[in-house]
């Protein structure tokens, strides 16, 4: 089973999915991320899926799960780079990923996280 690497950039964790995900890899990524958010105290997670050709219900559910987990650690999650064909298919499948933030690309995803962190700083 291949593992998806997690990179740390500042206080953001970057997950760039470059492989054809099997279910075990999905579960492993969820565990690894929970571990990493907790140990680094990261404030944001960016999941780049611009290279992902299909997202089925299992993978789609992972996004929601990761978003929920990171919320427990006071971190935000942004899914970036979803391809149009994937988005159309997910809608048809009935998955709307409620509660998951999205952005067109990595740069915009990082910007959104920056804004969220700043807002949180102001509120605190």
């Amino acid at each position: 089973m291949e593992r998806v690497p997690i990179l740390k950039i500042g206080d953001v964790l970057l997950v760039s999915i470059q492989i054809d995900l099997q279910d075990q890899s999905v579960l492993a990524l969820q565990e690894d991320l929970a571990e990493k958010i907790s140990s680094t105290g990261a404030h944001g997670v960016v999941i780049d899926i611009s290279a992902v050709e299909i997202v089925d219900s299992f993978i789609g559910r992972m996004f929601a799960t990761i978003a929920s987990i990171s919320r427990l650690f006071d971190a935000d999650t942004v899914v970036v780079g979803m391809r149009p064909a994937v988005a159309i298919t997910l809608v048809e499948l009935g998955l709307t990923l409620d509660g998951v933030r999205t952005a067109l690309d990595l740069e915009r995803g990082m910007k959104i996280l920056g804004q969220l962190t700043a807002r949180r700083g102001r509120d605190a």
Binding site: D20, E53, D56, S57, A85, E92
Partner: protein, 137 residues
């Protein structure tokens, strides 16, 4: 130039990585039959859901992937076979949000929305065969 009809090709489904293999084979067929990118994605996604069902609910089985032709219109057919417990209540299984195992219960109903033709043949105690077809638009 007429090429000989391809398939059926058989993929055993006994583990996680076989689901990925089914996706790749279905993708290859969909590309060869020149389905649009969106239709390729829909078919591969449906195949992924169904292959996972075969593995998780059916206890494993196999998939068959082949070309089909309806007059001049080409398409891809994929079928998923298992000798598992079968489905007792079809209406319930096809309804959104129901699941007898893990997942959101989107497996069957979701897959059905993604394809042009969806046939489900099941017998309690004997197993299940799900066949889907996607035509070139």
């Amino acid at each position: 130039m007429p090429s000989p009809t391809q398939g059926p090709e058989r993929v055993p489904i006994t583990g996680d990585d076989d689901v990925v293999r089914v996706r790749q084979l279905v993708r290859a067929y969909a590309q060869r039959m020149k389905l649009s990118l969106v239709d390729q994605t829909k078919l591969v996604t449906a195949a992924s859901e169904l292959a996972r069902n075969t593995l998780v609910y059916g206890g494993g089985g196999f998939a068959l992937v082949e070309e089909v032709h309806d007059g001049p219109r080409p398409g891809v057919r994929a079928s998923f076979h298992d000798d598992g417990p079968g489905i007792a209540d079809l209406d319930l299984a096809l309804a959104d949000g129901w699941s007898s195992g893990q997942g959101l219960g989107l497996g069957l109903s979701g897959a059905r929305r993604l394809v042009d033709k969806f046939d489900l043949d099941t017998e309690v105690g004997r197993g299940t065969v799900v066949t889907v077809v996607k035509w070139k638009r």
